[in-house]
Symmetry: D2
Subunit: 308 residues, 4 copies
């Protein structure tokens, strides 16, 4: 039988010589302060049990991984009409504005920044920014099964002060009428959502409903339908790593979503949810060591969705 604790210990040990590689995100000053040698892994199986190794209990900024939770919430709010706008891989960098012009201000998929800002705009409807942020935070705590999950106000402020590219994207979409609220409010929600902090342990638990047909393993409560869980997984596989999505599918073979804080959440449908964290990024903005760890875990467990 598969001894998961031993397996992730092995992966953790085998990668020690690579710890510290890659480049820590520095466009957000707060993120640049993180120790590049941090490395944690956690795996939560369908019974809700979690095994972990390394810095798995230390909180980090989940950044774009929050797009999965915001999308899940927004689907609950407005239903599958949200998919209407597209779910194609963009083939371009995460903050590209070119495709936005060619396609009349309608961003390709919910995991590139532009469309994630649209999702934040949807969550803002009928609310004050503070309420929308509260709703996202409550949902994150609920799926992580941990009330201590929080938002780092310094990171949110840091993004607000330097996120000119996101301000550009939001205003560009507003010029096409695809953002409905004043952009500073919508971006306020978005920047706070990106500043949510979780540990690997919390994050792997937060993803397990997607491995479990949409259901919380403890309460057995349905968070999303089977079909919706499947679709979110499909989107993560094709679009979860920006213009490195094809490479991640090829090497790891699991749906996943990365953030520039160095975290990745990966889903093995019917098996488990996996969270890894290592701040050094590759050229596409995905955790270098984290990707490698997931590749080894997928190989050694045989969990790739593309075959053993």
């Amino acid at each position: 039988m598969l001894d998961l604790q031993q397996l992730i210990n092995g992966v953790y040990d085998d990668l020690q010589s690579s710890v510290g590689q890659g480049r820590v995100a520095d466009y957000i000053p707060e993120l640049a302060k993180v120790d590049p040698r941090k490395f944690g892994i956690a795996v939560t199986t369908l019974d809700g049990e979690t095994v972990s190794v390394g810095d798995a209990d230390e909180s980090f900024s989940i950044q774009s991984i929050s797009k999965v939770f915001a999308l899940t919430l927004a689907l609950g709010k407005i239903g599958d009409g949200l998919w209407r706008v597209g779910r194609e891989p963009s083939g371009t960098a995460f903050n590209s504005i070119i495709q936005l012009e060619q396609e009349q201000g309608l961003p390709r998929n919910p995991f590139i920044n532009a469309r994630a800002i649209v999702v934040a705009d949807i969550l803002l409807a009928g609310h004050k920014p503070r309420e929308a942020i509260g709703e996202i935070l409550r949902f994150s705590r609920f799926v992580a099964n941990d009330e201590t999950v929080s938002i780092d106000p310094d990171v949110a402020r840091s993004e607000q002060a330097t996120g000119f590219r996101n301000v550009a994207l939001a205003n560009y979409m507003r010029s096409f009428g695809n953002i409905k609220h004043p952009t500073e409010l919508t971006l306020g929600v978005y920047f706070h959502q990106c500043a949510i902090e979780m540990s690997c342990r919390q994050l792997s638990h937060a993803g397990v409903f997607l491995a479990n047909g949409g259901r919380d393993p403890h309460t057995l409560q349905s968070i999303v339908s089977h079909e919706r869980a499947r679709r979110i997984n499909a989107l993560m596989l094709t679009c979860g790593h920006y213009d490195g999505s094809g490479d991640f599918a090829f090497r790891v073979g699991l749906p996943g979503k990365s953030g520039v804080g160095g975290g990745i959440m990966a889903i093995a449908p019917g098996r488990a949810s996996i969270a890894v964290w290592s701040p050094g990024l590759n050229a596409q903005g995905n955790s270098m060591l984290g990707t490698r760890a997931l590749e080894l875990i997928a190989q050694r467990t045989g969990w790739s969705v593309f075959g053993p």
Copy 2:
């Protein structure tokens, strides 16, 4: 227990009212002659048994589905160095030339036309065109387990006479040195490869090694390694349907490869290979009814790689 024959019969019946929808490819004159009301389904399980319904024994032009077999052969010939050039979704139409300029003549992935022409160029190395075509045909017969698989010379000629866009792509890549042979020879191989004809029954058998960890279910002979089968599946999932790849992953949830002849080959890893054929295409050039049939089959079998 799952009665596959009954299940595909049900899908076939449920879709009768949609038969004939979509637009038959007409840019190749020979393809335009096909009866738009054809509709066939075949499923081959890991024991090598095949069930089928409708026009599943009638041959059709597999077109771009042949890219999977050519890629498999080329990997055997030059090894994993072939992947070097990329495996990212292109985010653009199948015959786009824009990305080729932006990326200095190096096409994104082996399933867009440009890169498939590079694969044909690799298969041509050290051979005469006739020999390279013969090798692809022999391999197709071998995986289909049927010596009657053949090439339609009229379709090959038709493509050769009208495939100006492919001539453009090949010469464009040649100008960057990415095509090594005279373009008319390389394209001769490519056009003949696209003109391979198979029935759904033959095609579902031809794909089953990809569902079976790279192994032929009858002979148990390994055609490709586990790892390579997984990677080919990953590529089909992210790039197998041009700029409709994200949508196919979202709706069907299986690796697949379509051709403008109206065929689709889909792989359910660890379960089965599925072939569908219906000539009417959607806006992205993928079989409209075929996609719908695969969506229903995935739903009713629970075979989606993204969860039940």
Copy 3:
């Protein structure tokens, strides 16, 4: 001898049947209120004399024509280093953001919006926004030889409230460090500059220094050097009408700059400056009747720079 008054009267009369054609700019609410049947022409010769016909004494929003005056001022402030960033036709629409990404946030030429915002940013250096706006207005009055030239605060406010695309451009450039001040200050200057109002009579006088080797015809004072006047004229010819610049050169054959308010200022070097105004625009955002009037004037005077 050329009787200019009679000549423009003739052009004015010959075009009466076309008055009201084209589409008035409506993306700025204040501009949408203008009467589409307005039509004025004024010509100022090198001796400083002006002839005019139609609504030539009525003020209109000069919009992008102000880019010529702002550029002239900025050249005086920082010198020819300003040209460093480029002077190539963009080949794209006036508010395109695509080229900006492909070229790392450095806009092509000073007459597309993005680079005009950079020019406003240069004029802001060392000043409060109010002072920079005052400087542009004073210069406009000086070249127009008329102290009544003013800024319409409603138009400036209207642009500020709806100019999401320009906010996007400014923030996008800021993300590359090409805008040095807070974008709301820089855009404040830019939006006020665009809201300058002139009549055809004032505008034709304001351009005559460019026809006269950089010199004011009354005071004979040098406003810019011969060489700089020539270069500004060259830029107007190649880039003055967005993606309609080639067409304007082809049909009219004079350096010119248009604004979405329906005005065009054209320069016949060594002869005269011409201002036309008609609010209906063509597909490229240039005055439809204004372009036609300039085409007839160039034909009948033989003033095209490309030969009689």
Copy 4:
């Protein structure tokens, strides 16, 4: 009074220290053989008299300058309908294929390769390739007033053997139906047209009809109408130097057309035609020393169309 001989002698002397700079075109093997230190200037005034200095009597490959003569001929053949397809600066490199896809295979202006191939296709209509080539050669001899102008068969062959990018462009346009003849025939005409050889003396004479309102200065015969000469000049100014067109207008201020053989033909309307030759090219593919020579000539003569 202007002593032209003395003036060009001065320019020639002043630039001696820069002779040999730039990079000789090497993508066509025959062109790479040319001595990079060649440098010639010739000026033909409206009375048909020519002054010259340096290597002004040595033949060189005029390459893209031939597009002006082919365009003139094609306008005579099918009339102004030829302009229908566009005359906007492309803003991109001379052999770009991106714009072609974005604009459905219709190239921007007659001076980028793609559209020049369309012009060759027009000249081929109703003829054998040999006849079309003969017609272009006869016209070139006629305007150069010299029966010794010829085509270098080695250069034509060299282009045919290596011009993959042009083969790509032609086939791409053929796929949209914008090339009417087999591409190998159309390209045969195009490659031979580019291989025309002239000396500076011949070339400056060949352009003088464009400075003279369309009329041959010796015979006073009209080659094209006033209006057509003006329009060809306008096109040369906005599009004659690929993505260096704006820079050439800014620095030189004259309509001109360059070729990768290192020649430039410039037109000073109402004054003269100027030909320069120096094989070293700048980054945009235009003669580096030739551009500098024209800049000095324009300064010292005051012939810029944008003012003295």
